[in-house]
Amino acid sequence: MASNTKPTTRKAAIVGGNRIPFARSNSKYAQASNQDMLTATLDGLVARFGLQGKVLGEVVAGAVLKHSRDFNLTRESVLGSKLSATTPAYDVQQACGTGLEAAILVANKIALGQIESGIAGGVDTTSDAPLAVNDDLRRVLISLNNAKTMQDRLRALGGFRPGMLAPEIPRNAEPRTGLAMGDHAAITAKEWEIGREEQDELTVRSHHNLAAAYDRGFFDDLLTPYLGLSRDQNLRPDSSIEKLAKLNPVFGKGEGATMTAGNSTPLSDGASAVLLASDEWAEAQGLPVLAHFVDGQTAAVDYVHGGEGLLMAPVYAMPVMLARNGLTLQDFDFYEIHEAFASTVLATMKAWEDPAFCKEKLGLDAPLGSIDRSKLNVNGSSLAAGHPFAATGGRIVASLAKMLHEAGPGKRGLISICAAGGQGVVAILES
């Protein structure tokens, strides 16, 4: 159960962030590993804030798709970076919620006074994917390794069949349903009657907003180019409803299918990192405080048997967090709802507006209400930028903190990120 009261603690400051531009799968970063990208991202952050040789409280990051060699990914990346080798690190993994969850973890330790500074991050590659030998071959190889006599070895090898050479490929599918995430989202889109056109509109806005943000230099201090890429590769500044309308649906079946490759995020590669600290530490280092991390909340839904959509967990997490902070859904200046699919964003907002859903599923007397769309994803989101799973949280936290800082003191921002496994993470930032 979530706690109903907040202990008196200090709020962690968000000092700034860094990410590398997100690349489309099997393109610019095809030869880069998770560790390469996370190390480069940390080094960009180090350069931006002069952290060379500094010992930070902790670096917390993760990846969704990991090689077995990446068991200590974050610590290995720290060792390869310009940070002091005595900076501790650990990995987290909460699917697409990884990056934001990492930020919550670092912020909480700072809030409790356990650390003074820390980096939260995430990285993912869908290009340098961890292909594994298939389970049957793996068993043969393990028996072979365990065999003590030549006879045992031959017997073990006798179990080999050519078909076993087919590798296990990581799939963007839910293990318990076998459905791709997009197919799950399509079910939700249908349930909530999310139309094709509104999805395409949201998509176009994401591209245009992101392009405009680049043009006015918004990302100049949020991003460090990598391997020849200085903007997100998926960005289509000239995206339009007409162009998107030509695409055929790829998720969902039949007449009512609305989800295309355009209004769904593409597979992508990238990494992000956010520097958090206590106010005192930031001041001592001569570093700015863009915003504070106010609160975070996770929730999960039973999408297997419970009849809820796979990506609807943030809908449930939100009222819990709002109530704890005495806020309404309208008390925010910026909303960052991760665009896993355009339909997910629209279904999420529709659910918060729906009196019956809010009463029956969320147990609220009144619906959370609607969001001022002009405050939503104002500098673009995942549909345009791409979505290297664990890197999305860091992208959003750093960008939102900067937006709040630019808007002046006392502004609030809300983050909502859906994740595989029927999970969701939400958070509040304040300048």
Binding site: A40, G44, A47, R48, F49, Q52, G53, S230, L287
Partner: protein
């Protein structure tokens, strides 16, 4: 990017061949290394007329632990072997006739000068002369030093410092620079000092300790070298370059313990963003936020003028000249950002002095820089600050490495040192102009060109 020809010419076999064929014999230049001596040998001091700088010069040499030997006599006798530096105090010149003493002192001394030796002439500026004869004598040194520079071999250089009355106290830093390996590729230059209030002696190993230095175009080439030398000399470097160069910019910043600031200096709000960044990150040191600004960022968009479109013209002007003007003005206007005794160094170019075919836009922008520092110098002097320019000649970079071999070889030999300079040579000169002790150098353009034949 080693100089294969220089290495060959200095090998045993190469020495024989180049001597017999009368080919150029570039010397291996003496470059500054932290902890090394100011000079690798002794110095001789001579006078033409009753000079007034002998004591100042002696004090600088004594501080640096340099032994002063007695002048080499006409028959070549010397009590201290071969001198590493020959310094002529010509502040006592009254008429051209007094120059005979200069000849008598210099001729035997230069004959025995060590490789990578230093010849420094000191005189009053011709513009302050009491008579045409005195002005003529003083101006004569200009021709003299340039000719000596061309006659010297084996990496030796000759430079002239005009020291007006009242500027004696400002001599130490320029004198040290021109004696040291920092000035390896500065040859045949004339620098006019001005009176200045200077801070107490600085740490010669870390002359920029505690300073905040902004370096634009720091991601690669000469800019990266400037950032590294600044950091070596103790400064915290704010390394600036366009966002697209961010990856190499971060690498430079991380190597030197500085910070990377991605900024397109031609953006309308760039000066304001730089000011805000400095305020946010570097206030709290007492007075201003920044001590040193090096306007190094520059681009080329070469085309013959008749074929040049407006885009090429405008982009070069915007980066190379207008951004320097706008950023400097913004720093002057912003309260509490630029330290009172700030040092601004602007990168000009040999092309801005000599012109270059296909570079009308570039040459115009770089000549503009020279005019800019000259005009701004009195304004900066009022606040004990300085603004100067350096004009690099043929500097060996990634860019010159892409030139055709013939063009590159010829280009790199057309100077008294018969070789191309290195980015570090430009960086050393900029770092020197940035020193607190260099307050007497203002409004000057110092060429780092090995006394190039172009535009001389």
């Amino acid at each position: 990017m080693s100089d294969w020809y220089r290495d060959f010419a200095n090998s045993g076999f190469g020495t024989t061949i180049t001597k017999q064929l009368g080919l150029p014999r570039p010397g291996v230049l003496r470059r500054y290394e932290p902890g090394g001596p100011l000079l690798p040998g002794t110095a001789v001091i001579g006078s033409a007329g009753e000079g007034r700088l002998r004591d100042t010069v002696s004090a600088v040499l004594k501080d640096a632990g340099v032994t002063v030997q007695s002048p080499v006599t006409a028959d070549g006798a010397s009590d201290g072997g071969k001198p590493a530096a020959v310094i002529l105090d010509a502040t006592g010149l009254s008429t051209p006739g007094d120059l005979t003493a200069a000849h008598d002192f210099l001729a035997p001394a230069l004959k025995r000068l060590r490789p990578s030796g230093r010849v420094i002439l000191l005189a009053d500026p011709p513009s302050d002369a009491a008579s045409p004869a005195q002005a003529a004598a003083r101006q004569a040194l200009d021709g003299l030093v340039r000719s000596i520079g061309k006659e010297l071999r084996e990496g030796s250089t000759a430079n002239l410092l005009y020291v007006p009355a009242g500027a004696e106290g400002a001599l130490a830093s320029p004198l040290r620079f021109f004696l040291s390996g920092r000035s390896a590729y500065v040859d045949g230059q004339v620098v006019t000092l001005s009176a200045a209030t200077l801070p107490a002696a600085e740490d010669d190993e870390k002359p920029l300790a505690g300073k905040v230095a902004v370096v634009t175009g720091a991601a690669r080439g000469i800019g990266a070298a400037i950032a590294k030398v600044m950091a070596r000399d103790g400064a915290h470097v704010v390394a600036v370059d366009v966002p697209a160069s961010g990856q190499s910019l971060a690498e430079v910043a991380n190597e030197i313990g500085g910070t990377a600031f991605q900024l397109d200096i031609t953006a309308d709000d760039a000066p304001q963003r730089l000011v805000e960044h400095l305020r946010e990150r570097h206030s709290g040191g007492g007075q201003g936020c920044v001590d040193i600004v090096v306007h190094n960022a520059g681009i080329t968009r070469d085309k013959l003028l008749v074929n040049m479109d407006a885009a090429r013209w405008n982009s070069v002007m915007a980066v190379n000249l207008q951004a320097q003007l706008d950023i400097t003005q913004a720093l002057l206007d912003a309260d509490g950002v630029l330290n009172d005794d700030a040092r601004i160094v602007c990168v000009s170019s040999q092309s801005g002095i000599a012109g270059n075919r296909g570079q009308t836009n570039y040459a115009a922008s770089k000549a503009g820089v020279i005019g800019m520092v000259r005009a701004w110098a009195p304004v900066f002097a009022e606040r004990r600050a300085t603004i100067n320019a350096v004009a690099p000649g043929f500097i060996v970079t990634e860019m010159t490495a892409k030139m055709p071999l013939g063009t590159r070889e010829v280009g790199s030999r057309l100077n008294s040192l018969q070789q191309g300079g290195l980015p570090v040579d430009v960086a050393e000169t900029i770092a020197w102009l940035s020193q607190p002790g260099s307050g007497g150098v203002n409004g000057q353009t110092v060429r780092v060109c090995g006394q190039s034949l172009l535009g001389a």
